[in-house]
């Protein structure tokens, strides 16, 4: 269980990284925190000729408020973001980060690394899709911006080319009208989720402007469902005064059919497809309710 031999380089700039990636294309891999890549190397599932360590790169942002977004640079570690005060502006990060692996993994693993790795059961790709984050990508021609919802193309596959580097991600910051919820079921704390959901509801008065639910661990990429209609009918005429349990019960009438569409992964030893569908149906109803209540009640808006 030792990594196969590889050449190693630690450039000082994004241009240096891209240059080394293109020189060895497609046999070079970026190493940021290594918490996903190194196990893959140890199991000899990958044998890159060159590892390009980006931890010395100077021209990437740290954690910065930029307009209506929180920008997180390529070398920002998950735990660093978790305890950064600016993360309060993106409540879904606060809710979801503790679920990523263990402390020991988050202390090295990076936010952008998790996105670039694109594990379909990982938390951060789902969060990025749910809040419609934008990903900044650098290549030899310059830079491009890709919306999270089109970034993930298949299991551990993204639109990133072999000579491209994900330099930062921009998470839109929350307003008083936004409510968020996050839940996942895994066999043990720190495991990848059997299934999980992350929800963003935006409600102004009685009007539900957004109700996006992204499920993960259910398909080869995170899948997002526009739940506005279902949530509108569940909250009904009474709006935010509807009893919480009544909303969830009403949602449960619709979510099994939705879960059947969303959950396409085949079962494994830890849970069949049917079990994951039931999980998603239940979690969706529960978390949509919670996010909706948080959206309409400014006092509980930001957890």
């Amino acid at each position: 269980m030792k990594a196969p031999p590889f050449a190693y380089v630690r450039p000082a700039s994004v241009a240096g990284v891209v240059e080394h990636l293109s020189r060895d294309e497609p046999d070079a891999k970026i190493l940021a925190g290594g918490q996903s890549l190194v196990p893959v190397l140890a199991m000899r599932l990958a044998r890159p000729a060159t590892i390009v360590d980006i931890n010395a790169v100077e021209d990437v942002p740290g954690v910065e408020r930029r307009g209506g977004a929180l920008e997180v640079g390529a070398t920002v570690r998950q735990r660093e973001l978790e305890r950064h005060p600016a993360t309060a502006a993106v409540p879904l990060l606060r809710l979801s980060m503790p679920w990523i692996g263990h402390r020991e993994v988050r202390s090295r693993g990076t936010v952008c690394g998790s996105l670039a790795h694109g594990d379909p059961a990982a938390e951060l790709p789902a969060v990025a899709c749910c809040v419609e984050a934008e990903l900044q990508i650098a290549n030899q021609q310059g830079t491009r911006t890709v919306p999270a919802r089109t970034f993930f193309t298949s299991a551990m596959t993204t639109v990133l080319g072999p000579a491209e580097m994900l330099t930062s991600v921009r998470f839109p910051t929350a307003t008083a009208e936004d409510g968020y919820a996050f839940a996942e079921i895994s066999r043990r704390h720190g495991d990848y989720a059997l299934a999980g959901v992350t929800v963003h509801v935006r409600a102004a008065g009685d009007e539900i402007l957004r109700a996006d639910m992204t499920a993960f661990g259910v398909s080869d990429t995170p899948v997002t469902w526009d739940a506005r209609e279902v949530l509108r009918s569940a909250t009904g005429a009474a709006g935010p005064d509807t009893d919480r349990r009544a909303i969830t019960t009403s949602l449960m009438r619709d979510t099994p059919a939705i879960a059947e569409q969303l959950v396409t992964t085949s079962g494994d030893i830890h849970g069949s497809r049917g079990y994951r569908r039931r999980l998603v149906a239940a979690l969706a109803a529960q978390e949509l309710t919670l996010a909706y209540l948080r959206a309409v009640d400014a006092t509980q808006g930001v957890p």
Partner: protein, 425 residues
């Protein structure tokens, strides 16, 4: 380039990002990366292949075998260490990434006579049975109580789930951490055993080439024929003197002739003369069932014919995971009709040879030196040697070492009754 000031407290910086390491150029897969880091307060220079993990570097290059390896792909948490004050899995980090990093392992946490509160609590609460997971748990718990000291007790099992234990059922572990959390509400003491000291690897190739794989004349370019002694106190300091039945001049003439000296060293063999008074060789040592074969380098750094003084630096590695570095000073003095050879040596042991312990290492050194002196006497007086170029007889070594120990015990007993003679060591 700024001077490196080793951080010795292993304390985490709150929410400050890790320092950016200096960039490094492309290093080929079969080449080595130079890395400087601090391990348990000791500044360390490593030359490692890119794929070597921090865990392997700690265990094999620095002899810090307290960091255990279980799954080697980040699941079990056995190899958890502190990197810049935060718990991280040493099997998921390449050593070459850790330029300027501050690493604390379980060896740095406390001393046997002054345990860290966490270690003390694990002991009191039976938080360990076989002990395999204990280093990982200790450093994971250290991280938790340092960075999240207000973690509620009912969250401890979840927070400690990054390390697996297969013996205890976790209760003792969680209770131990809860104890310390209650006892130290304002944060726990820092690691108590971080200071500059000797760190030597267990595997050959730590600066000294092994002959097992390489031909004697092809030293890799990145492994210079230099012997660097580790900083800190030696494992054993040996001082031995013995009389040889030959004139000082004859004895010195042998000492001055490296190939001839080599034939006098028990079990030793000179394999290569490198120039600049540097020599490569091997030495075999048998000790009961233990067989060690050292491959190494000797460098005569001082040679004074007038006062008949010689200083040699020696480095040897045993393929089974032992390493010896020594600073040896020999002088020949006139003593009536005969010569008196006095040798002092600072010996640094690491790996399995270090497990023999101080006293046995002392005894073995003494036995080897006696045999060496006898052979030297033979060579100086022109008598053919008896035991040259053979590994010292296993039986004889053990008997001889035992005899010395018994003699010492006897002496210790009798010294209460009789005044100590000056000739005794």
């Amino acid at each position: 380039m700024t001077a490196r000031i080793p951080r010795q407290d292993g304390r985490a910086r709150n929410s400050a990002p890790s320092p950016r390491p200096a960039p490094t150029g492309l290093v080929a897969a079969d080449s080595r990366v130079a890395v400087q880091l601090t391990v348990n307060g000791t500044p360390v220079d490593l030359h490692v292949p890119p794929r070597l993990t921090l865990a392997d570097a700690l265990r094999d290059r620095l002899g810090l075998t307290g960091t255990h390896l279980g799954c080697e792909h980040g699941v079990c948490g056995m190899c958890t260490v502190l990197v810049d004050g935060e718990a991280a899995r040493a099997c998921l980090l390449f050593a070459c990434q850790l330029q300027d990093a501050d690493v604390v392992t379980v060896e740095g946490l406390g001393r046997p006579d002054d345990l860290h509160p966490l270690q003390e609590a694990f002991s009191r609460r039976h938080g360990l049975q076989c002990g395999f997971c204990t280093p990982g748990f200790l450093l994971s718990a250290y991280d938790l109580l340092t960075l999240s000291p207000d973690t509620p007790e009912d969250k401890l099992p979840e927070e400690l789930s990054g390390v697996l234990c297969r013996c205890t059922g976790y209760r003792g572990i969680v209770e131990a951490v809860a104890d310390v959390s209650r006892a130290c509400p304002d944060g726990i003491p820092g690691p108590g055993n971080c200071a500059p000291r000797t760190l030597l690897g267990r595997l050959p190739g730590n600066g000294v080439r092994t002959a097992a794989k390489d031909s004697p004349s092809s030293a890799p370019a990145d492994e210079p024929d230099e012997i660097r002694l580790p900083p800190g106190e030696p494992t054993v300091a040996v001082e031995i003197s013995t009389d040889v039945d030959a004139s000082p001049r004859d004895v010195w003439n042998v000492l001055d002739d490296a190939p001839l000296v080599a034939t006098c060293l028990p079990g030793a063999e000179l394999t290569d003369t490198l120039g600049g008074d540097r020599y490569r060789g091997r030495a075999r040592v048998s000790l009961g069932p233990v067989r060690l074969q050292f491959v190494g380098l000797a460098h005569v750094v001082e040679r004074d014919a007038d006062s008949r003084r010689l200083r040699v630096l020696a480095a040897g590695d045993d393929p089974g995971g032992g390493s010896v570095r020594a600073d040896i000073r020999v002088c020949v003095d006139e003593d009536g009709w005969t010569s008196r050879i006095t040798a002092t040596a600072d010996v640094f042991l690491a790996g399995r040879v270090a497990q023999f312990g101080r006293s046995l290492a002392d005894d073995v050194s003494a036995v080897l030196f006696e045999q060496f002196s006898a052979a030297l006497g033979d060579a100086a007086s022109g008598t053919p040697g008896t035991a040259r170029q053979q590994a010292p007889s296993a039986l004889r070594m053990v008997l001889s070492a035992l005899r010395r120990r018994l003699a010492r015990v006897r002496r210790r007993i009798t010294s209460h009754l009789t005044p100590r003679r000056s000739s005794e060591r």
